[in-house]
């Protein structure tokens, strides 16, 4: 279908393009910006007056809960949530049940996602069989089945030897490894940042050293193996300092943070509100400030939603017993805009973290308004105000710490491969 998107403010974060212009799509790809190509006839015109036309968002972590946790969410519900949030490409971690440790499971997931014909799904394969942290998975086979990287998620390795072997084997094929730095012994059942707030509330703490000790080990192993490693959800100032140093030394590492940690701190837990029970835990103001600084200086490559749908029963529990996580796909864009506004950041620069930079980490063709690129687009009204009403979210997970908060920026239209997959008036 030939589509003309008229009068939109085009923002291409990768090139810094920011101007009102028309955009032309044919055969699912962007074919021209500005003037229509010769002999182009419009089959569908989309009036984007007053809207920003940006690349579809690329989310580095969205739990779709399939297979195994369909009572929490289904592929259908979460894919709808993705496109409602303007997310056109997403990576899903392998901590499903069973975990994504066999090519058949990955093919099934890809197939199911393709049938739904919404966002592009990029599975992250399990680094070890059943995520037990012991034996390697068939990474090359999994890669052929569609895995773009390999991860152990939050589950410990049996020992450092297992981590070393995983990195060596992945490096053999040049596969990126995504690691969450977390020393499980030091976490020791903790549920909140180990600091004044946890002390007051009598919640067992997760110290910053649980992150930095693991990070130190992982960085030494990166050095030893040359493996490409992406660190997921760094939460502390000290952790970011280590990543910054590693990048200065030229190590092949990157990292992301969750959008929640850019806005919230442990103080927001208030009176034991389980919606603020997240992994990694919300940390101090100082850590949040460091996250914001590291976004600006490039230490942090990308922002992800860390979308984790949890059902009501999982949150209506005493804080420590509640299930951690927050729904996020539909909040990634407005919360990124909010950060941009608070940081006084130009929109193209802020959007990089959820488009082109995220696509670079994921190593996929996405996140750009480029001639010839797939027409994965997010059209949003940057001025539209709305209130987060959990019941109105498309995601089956209604669990959000931002319930009742006022947001600015609403997705009006999402296209994937040149097809409208979401549209509101």
């Amino acid at each position: 279908m030939n589509i003309e998107i008229k009068n939109g403010r085009l923002i291409d974060p990768a090139t810094g393009l920011d101007r009102v212009a028309d955009l032309f799509i044919a055969n699912g790809r962007i074919i021209a910006i500005g003037a229509a190509p010769e002999d182009f006839y419009v089959e569908q015109a989309i009036d984007a007056t007053g809207l920003i036309v940006a690349p579809g968002l690329v989310d580095l972590s969205a739990r779709l809960r399939e297979p195994g946790f369909e009572y929490k969410a289904t592929l259908e519900s979460e894919m709808q949530a993705a496109v409602a949030g303007g997310v056109t490409s997403l990576a899903c971690p392998p901590d499903t049940d069973p975990p994504l440790d066999e090519p058949g499971l990955v093919e099934m997931l890809k197939h199911r996602a393709r049938q739904l014909n919404q966002a592009n799904v990029y599975p992250i394969g399990a680094l070890t069989q059943q995520l037990q942290g012991k034996r390697l998975t068939e990474m090359a086979e999994l890669h052929d089945a569609g895995c773009v990287a390999f991860s152990q998620v939050d589950i410990p390795f049996e020992n450092n030897l297992a981590l070393l072997r995983s990195l060596q084997y992945a490096a053999t094929f040049g596969f990126p490894v995504w690691l969450r730095p977390r020393d499980h012994g030091l976490v020791a059942g903790g549920v909140a940042h180990d600091g004044e707030v946890a002390t007051r509330m009598g919640l067992s703490g997760i110290p910053v050293i649980a992150e930095t000790v693991a990070l130190a080990t992982m960085l030494l192993l990166v050095k030893a193996t040359g493996a490409r490693v992406h660190f997921c959800r760094i939460s502390s100032a000290s952790g970011l300092e280590m990543v910054r140093d590693a990048k200065r030394q030229g190590l092949p590492v990157s990292c992301d943070v969750s959008i929640n940690h850019i806005h919230l701190t442990d103080l927001d837990i208030g009176y034991f509100d389980a919606h603020y029970h997240l992994v990694p835990p919300l940390r101090s103001h100082r850590d949040r400030d460091a996250i914001r600084a590291a976004l600006l200086d490039g230490t942090i490559d990308a922002i992800c939603s860390d979308h984790t749908p949890v059902d009501d029963d999982g949150k209506l529990l005493p804080f420590a017993e509640s299930e951690p996580g927050a729904t996020g796909l539909e909040l990634l864009l407005p919360l990124t805009l909010k950060w941009a506004e608070e940081a006084g950041l130009p929109l193209p620069q802020a959007l990089q973290k959820i488009t082109s930079d995220a696509a670079r980490v994921l190593n996929v063709v996405a996140g750009k308004l480029e001639i010839g690129a797939p027409a994965d687009l997010c059209l949003f009204d940057p001025a539209a105000e709305w209130r987060v009403e959990p019941k109105q979210l498309k995601s089956q997970g209604k669990n959000t710490p931002f319930a009742g908060m006022q947001m600015r920026g609403k997705v009006r239209h999402t296209l994937v491969n040149g097809q409208s997959v979401y549209q509101i008036g």
Partner: protein, 318 residues
Amino acid sequence: MAHHHPQLNQHGELQHLLTIEGLPAPILTQILDKAESFVSMSDHDVKKLPILTGKSVFNLFFENSTRTRTTFEIAAKRLSADVVNLNINASSTSKGETLLDTIHNLEAMHADMFVVRHAESGAPFLIARHVAPDVHVINAGDGRHAHPTQALLDMYTIRHYKQDFSNLRVAIVGDILHSRVARSQIHALTTLGVPEVRVIGPKTLMPTSVEKLGVHVYHDMNQGLKDVDVVIMLRLQNERMNGALLPSAQEFFKYYGLTLDKLAHAKPDAIVMHPGPMNRGVEIDSAVADGAQSVILPQVTFGIAVRMAVMAILAGNR
């Protein structure tokens, strides 16, 4: 984000008693004064007051504690309430019934007041958020977080023996990390104007940033006890004694157990308190526990009056 304090009603009165933290001094004093009227009354051998006639108090103990439950039971009965004791162990949760299911079922039985003991910090807050508006919740100890009635009876005891809070040095000794009692005591003492609160214990039993609560941290017991007016010993749970946090009960007693020798560093008229039940020979020597400076038994007596006071005040606040 603004959080309305969940234990106060729109008039700033107590709707629930969940924690000492954030309560203004006049509310604490009101409870202590009310308790005092009950203490003098039981001297006159009046056993029952009609304050809670026709009301049902449910003691919901998700964690066992015969002592605390009994004092609440006696307090409620002295106020003429109907008391229902429920020890809810893992069996009901293993049947799939959630904490809130349990609460709603009991509400349907016309409970007016829940006294809740739970192993998880914050559980009484969750309950208070979900009960009907006219139901009161009293926290009888949640995880490591708070034990407000214990702290109030301790304040009552201190006021009884020392009259004035404004010139005291108080030391709390032992396992601060896991102690809800210590947290509530610290808030109560600082709110009531005690100028110097000390916590004493090894680093493994000290919470992170505890000094932010307004206390001075000591790791040497003799230094920490120097010139204090009140010594509060904490119970050391059995599971803390072997290995991970402490090498042995014997070594703990040698360095942090209260003996007459160590007590000699405190003021001569210092009082010794303990929330009970005591581990003699672990955190406290019998010679101290049964000695002239011990006020551990009067604490128990005052505990009933303080719990009566809390229930009576809550029942009067709508």
